[in-house]
Structure formats: C-alpha cells, structure tokens
C-alpha cells in the first residue's frame, strides 16, 4: 500500500511539470514584466525594474482603466443575469415538454460552438446601421435607435450584451436543463399531493435544487463576460469613445497598440486578481448553497 502511494506523485510529476511550464511559467513571467518598464515604443524603457510603479499608476493614476473595470463589471451583470433567468425558464419549459426537448436541445449548442469572432462579424452585418438586415427592419417598424444600435453610447453595452446573450443563453439553458433532468421527481410529487401549485413547487423545490448549477454556470459566464474581447472588438472597437471599452480592450490597447508591455502586464495581473476574488466569493456562495 505504501509502495503504491509512493508511485502516485512520481507518475504525476511529468504532468505537473508540463502544467507548470505551460501555465505557471508564462504567468510568473507576466508578473515579472509587470514590475518592469518594458515598452517597445520607447528606447529608454527597456525593461528596467520599477517595483510597483505600474500598479500605482493603474490604481491611482489611470481613470480610464478603472472606468473600464467598472464597465466590464456592468457588462458582466448585463450578460449573466438575463442569461441565467432565461436559462432557468427555458430549462424548465424544455424539461416539461419532452417533444421540444428532443427537437431544440441539439440546436441549443450551436451558437456556443461558433467562434466569437464569427459571431461578432455576423452581428455586425446584421446591425450595420440602416443597411444591416436587422437594424433596417427594426427601424422600419419604428423602433427608436434601431439604426444606431452599435454607435449610440447609451445603448452600446446593451447591444453587445444582447449579442452575448444570443451566443451563450442557449448554452446556459443546456447546463441548467442537465441539472434539472437529474433532479428527483419524488419531492415535487409530494408537494403536489400536499396541494402546492406548479409555481409554488418550482420556487420552493426545483429552484433551490438548481442553485448550485445556477451559481456554477453564473461564475463561469461571469468570468467569460468579464474578459470579453472578440465580439466587442469587432462590433464597436471599444467605442464610441470609451463607451464599450472593457478592461480587456483597454489592456490590448496598452500592450499591443502602445507596446507598453510592462504596464499591460500589470493591468493583466490586476484583472486576474479581481476575477479571482469575485470567483472565490461566487464559489463560496455555491458551496453554501450546496450544503443547504
């Protein structure tokens, strides 16, 4: 038995080394870069160690970055909440309707399988002012702002969130449908026998049972939405102005347009820490929900 345990870590060593090389190595390099002034835009900034200066600059001197974090957070809420709510409702509907379940379930996976770049291009064509198919007909039926849906600073976050909804709400539904299908029917039947309505039994029995899955998918989607890049870059480029400039777009701008690698790395570390913190809180809630 002892000999068996001795071999376990030995067998795992190559995999752990590989993971360390692939994931930990670049991350540590990024942390190191964040402590330097490396910039390929300036000959003077050739990677000198500058301590925490980049972090100080980001947190106390870069209002655009902080605003972009706030924007990403708002976008995350705009994405996750509707996707979770609609996902729950659709999952319940599909669970109660085996025919729809059979027909629609395979289709639900399709948008999530498309690369985000393609989704962005596809929606850009659909929403291209009054010449885009969707925006054209939306303006014909008199919807306000229909022809400026991607260029109106007040609407742009909602527009991008709508595209994200199209891509990911079906996937959220699929996950919740799987969780719903694994729930036991007995407690529900007992509730119905006791005279509980469908709605009452849904809120008192089904929904609490789904909570761990809802939290898990919400955390995954929140992480994903917070680092959204592809679609927003193609749809709006972060504009108009900074109206849709998420932290990911801002970091890209610093690192790959302005070539400020040191500063860009510091911003990445900060975003990582932010996501880590939020994820930990989400997971804590998830565990709590599970234990209850």
């Amino acid at each position: 038995m002892l000999r068996h345990n001795y071999w376990k870590p030995t067998m795992l060593t190559p995999v752990l080394a590989f993971l360390a090389l692939i994931f930990l190595g670049p991350f540590l390099y990024m942390v190191w870069l964040s402590l330097t002034d490396l910039s390929f835009a300036s000959a003077e900034h050739n990677g000198n160690f500058i301590g925490l200066s980049n972090y100080v600059r980001a947190l106390w001197g870069d209002g655009i970055f902080l605003a972009s974090i706030g924007r990403s957070a708002l976008f995350t809420v705009l994405c996750v909440l509707p996707q979770a709510v609609v996902g729950i409702a659709l999952a319940e509907f599909l669970h109660s309707s085996p025919f729809s379940h059979k027909i629609l379930s395979p289709l639900l996976a399709v948008p999530a399988l498309l690369p985000s770049v393609i989704v962005g291009l596809y929606w850009r064509i659909l929403l291209q002012g009054e010449f885009g198919l969707l925006s054209h007909y939306a303006s014909k039926i008199g919807l306000p702002f229909a022809t400026g849906i991607l260029s109106n600073p007040r609407l742009v976050l909602l527009s991008v969130a709508m595209v994200d909804f199209w891509q990911w709400a079906p996937f959220v539904t699929l996950v919740l449908l799987a969780a719903r299908s694994s729930q036991k029917r007995a407690p529900l039947e007992a509730a119905w026998l006791d005279g509980a309505s469908q709605l009452r039994s849904f809120f008192d029995i089904t929904l609490p049972g789904l909570l761990p899955a809802i939290l898990a998918i919400s955390v995954i989607r929140a992480i994903d939405s917070f680092k959204e890049f592809d679609k927003v870059f193609i749809l709006t480029g972060g504009g108009p102005g900074t109206a849709s400039e998420f932290s990911s777009v801002y970091i890209w701008r610093q690192a790959f347009r302005n070539w400020e690698f040191g500063y860009g790395a510091a911003l990445c570390v900060l975003v990582y820490l932010f996501i880590y913190l939020v994820t930990q809180i989400g997971l804590k809630w998830s565990h709590l929900a599970e234990s209850q």
Partner: protein
C-alpha cells in the same frame, strides 16, 4: 569495338556539355528581360542577385490591391534572380501585430516588411530597422539607373528617412480627396433645385461651407441617400480622416514641419476646436450608424450609391470604379479637398518597404525593393491597384486616363509636411486622437474638453517633448 564506344561516348559527352552551355546561355537570355539588364556601368539584376540565388525572402503587408499586385508580379523577379519571394498578406491591424511580435521578439521571420510609415520612428529607436545606406552605396546591389531623389515624389523622404538616415522606400503614396457622385451633381434638375436653395451652382465643393451645403442638400433618408459620411468608429480611419479637417482649418497635432521632430501641441488650439465642431456637424448628414464606420464601411456605402460625397483614399478608388463591385462605377467624380482657413490641405499616407535588422536575407530583400520600384514595374503595379511613389508612372497614358489620377497627384502638392509624424510615439498619439474625437462625436465630451484631454495625453506620452501651447482644463 571498345575504341568506337569510347569515341561515341566522348562525342556524346562533348555534345551534351555544348548543349548545356548553350541552353544555360539561352535560358539566361530569356529570363533577362531588357529591364533586368541595365546597360549603365555594367550593372544587371541577374549578376547582382547571383550570390543570393536560392535564397527566400519573406515579405509581410496589408492585404489590399497594392500588395496583391506585388504578389502577381513576383514570379518575374524570381525568374530573373533565382530568389524566391514569399508574401504574407493580412488585415492592417494583424500586420501591425505580426510585425510587432516578430521585431520585438527578434524572431527574424520577415526579411521585408511593408508598414505604415508613421511607425518608422518607433522601429528605428528600437534598432529594428536596417539603414539602407549600406545597400544604396553598394555598387553591387544598387541599380545606378535609380536615383530616389530624382525619380520619387519628394514625400519619399518623410516616408523613408528618420534622424538623418534612410530606412525605407515608399511602396505607395496615398492622398485623400473628395469623391462625389458626378451623375447627381450633373443632373439638371438637381442643379436647378440646388441653385434655387443655396444661390450658387452645384459642383464639386471648393470650400467647407459648400461641402456642408451639398451634404445637407443630398441628405434624403427616405430615398436611402445621405449627403456625406464620417468614418467615425474608434479606428485608425477616424484619426486619419480627422486630420484633413484639422490641418485645413489651420490646426495641427504638433506645430512642426519635420515629421520626425516634436513641436508645441496644437490639437487644442482655437482652429482645432473650429475644425472639430465642423467635423461633428457633418454627422447630421451622414448615415445614422456613422460612429461605427471605418474606411471599409465608407467604401461599401459609396459602392452602393448611398452617399453623395465623402473624403477618401487613393487606394480605395479602384474598388469604387470596378463595375463588378460597385453600382457607381463610371458615375463618380474626384475633386481637390475643399478650401479651409489654411487653404487646401490633403491628408497623405502610405506604406513603405523596410528591412528589419533581423532579416536573414537583407541584400536579396533590397534587390527586390529596387526591382519593384523600376518604372515598368511601377506602371504595372499602378494598373493593378497601386499608388506609385514614382513620378514617371503618372506619365503613362493608361495611368493618365484613370479619372482620379490628376487629383491624386495634384493633392501631393497640397499637403502639410508633418500631418503624419514619424516620432516614436506616433501610434500612441494617433490612438489618443481617435479616442478624443470618438468621445466628442458621440457627445460624451464637449469639443474643447475632448481636445484638451488629447493635448494633455500627448504631452504625457512624449514626456513633455511636445509642449502644451494652449491652456487646458484640468485632466
């Protein structure tokens, strides 16, 4: 018998050797087109290329007609020199990224890059570009019949020189000018209605007031027609279009005549404020989604005949005049930029050939550049969709006949020497302008506040080397 065999074999070998010698001479004669053998001082391309025969040069650039033309022409160079040319074509942003990664990581994938010239200063200060004097002064490499100062437009120095040294040659010289719907402008009924409303004849706009009047006149959303368009997406297109207005109204980004030097910041001057207010006023006559337009969208809208006039680039004109792609081919007119307080000022741009210091075959790459810049190749590239930096190209009868040739060339006489600067922070300055103007156009900031913000950012970016000239609100 055996002697007979020896004799026959000897004769056969001699004949084979003679044949090989003859064919090899003949082959060279076929490959060596007249243009490949410059008679002056005994220089010719095959001889110059002999040491590099078998080498491969890898080139990267933006995937659009000028580079597609190079792709079509390269087999001639390969046949003449034995040097293989591999071309990678990508979207403009992707080229910036790939070149950036290659040069910064010193990978050495590319022997020759075609890059927007305002990024030159950054690359030079990072020691990423090879000075070309080594090759230009090398009689084995340089074709003595080519004199850049004599043969190219003077702007070639802005596009190829930095800090008193030559680093590049222009691949194309672009200008922006006015595109207008000649069919609409020549329509007698439109002319009469316009004169009745504005009190002067409808024609290509000569002033910015006329430009806006015409835009207003043709804005008819119910007919699917708009007067003009603004390339308002936060994108490089916005920065470049805006400069036409800024400089024409008497403003500037930095007050300097040399694009590679810093000057006092003029982006928040009263003239710049006026220019920006005018630019913003055009949104009323532009399609509703203009704040999400780049030059690609602008071209597509023009091709569909949805817009009456706009400012656009030389290299897009081919696609506009291609009946396969455009509903308005043959119906377009081209005019000089309208006159502002500072006169007629055209935005210029373009991309240049540069040889990275990490190039594995810099000499072969240099030979390719000079070959591309030959008169006959420039004419060929021009016809395939180029914008030649070589003056003589525009004397070719076929090129002269193109409806936009005269305007695009005259425009070169009306540019500001430092509209697009080559200081190392150029791209960042451009980003700042994009952001500021995008905010202003979207009503997220008042004009003066947006321009003040840009001025402060440029001052910070350049570490104070570009000084603030006009007072700014706190940022």
């Amino acid at each position: 018998m055996s002697r007979k065999i020896v004799v026959i074999l000897t004769v056969a070998i001699l004949v084979a050797i003679a044949l090989v010698w003859f064919v090899s001479r003949g082959g060279r004669a076929i490959n060596e087109t007249p243009s490949d053998s410059a008679p002056q001082q005994g220089w010719n391309l095959p001889n110059a290329a002999r040491p590099y025969k078998g080498a491969t040069i890898r080139l990267i650039g933006e995937d659009y007609p000028p580079l597609q033309a190079i792709d079509k022409m390269k087999p001639d160079f390969e046949r003449a020199t034995g040097i293989k040319v591999e071309i990678e074509r990508y979207e403009a942003e992707a080229v910036l990224q790939k070149v950036g990664f290659d040069l910064n990581s010193k990978t050495g994938r590319y022997d020759l890059i075609i890059q927007i010239y305002f990024d030159m200063g950054r690359m030079v200060t990072q020691n990423q570009l090879h000075p070309l004097a080594d090759y230009l002064e090398n009689p084995k490499l340089h074709d003595p019949s080519f004199d850049p100062d004599r043969d190219l437009f003077p702007v070639w120095r802005s596009m190829g020189w930095y800090g008193g040294k030559q680093y590049g040659y222009p691949m194309m010289v672009l200008t922006m000018y006015t595109w207008y719907r000649r069919d609409l402008f020549d329509d007698p009924q439109e002319k009469a209605t316009f004169k009745n409303k504005y009190g002067y004849d409808l024609g290509p706009p000569e002033t910015w007031k006329q430009y806006r009047d015409i835009a207003e006149f043709f804005t008819r959303p119910n007919q699917g027609l708009y007067g003009t368009l603004v390339q308002g997406k936060k994108h490089i297109a916005l920065w470049q279009e805006y400069l036409n207005f800024l400089y024409s109204f008497g403003g500037s980004v930095m007050d300097t005549k040399d694009p590679s030097t810093y000057g006092p910041i003029g982006i928040n001057s009263p003239e710049a404020v006026k220019a920006t207010e005018y630019y913003k006023s055009l949104l009323k006559y532009s399609p509703p989604d203009s704040l999400n337009f780049t030059w690609d969208d602008a071209l597509a809208l023009m091709q569909q005949g949805k817009v009456a006039e706009c400012l656009m680039w030389t290299d897009s004109t081919y696609a506009l005049e291609d009946p396969k792609q455009s509903k308005v081919a043959g119906k377009m007119g081209y005019a000089m930029m309208p006159k502002g307080d500072a006169g007629i000022v055209h935005q210029i741009g373009g991309q240049s050939y540069y040889i990275p210091t990490t190039s594995k075959n810099p000499e072969a790459a240099y030979l390719f550049i000079e070959w591309m810049l030959r008169p006959e190749n420039q004419i060929r590239q021009q016809k395939l969709g180029g914008a030649s930096p070589r003056k003589a190209t525009y004397q070719d009868p076929d090129v002269v006949r193109l409806p936009w040739t005269s305007v695009s060339i005259n425009a070169l006489e009306h540019t500001h020497p430092a509209m697009l600067y080559t200081v190392p922070e150029s791209m960042q300055i451009g980003e700042t302008i994009e952001l500021a103007i995008s905010d202003v156009l979207a009503d997220r900031k008042p004009v003066k506040e947006g321009l003040d913000w840009a001025a402060v950012q440029i001052n910070k970016l350049t570490n104070g080397k570009a000084a603030l000239r006009y007072p700014t609100s706190a940022h």
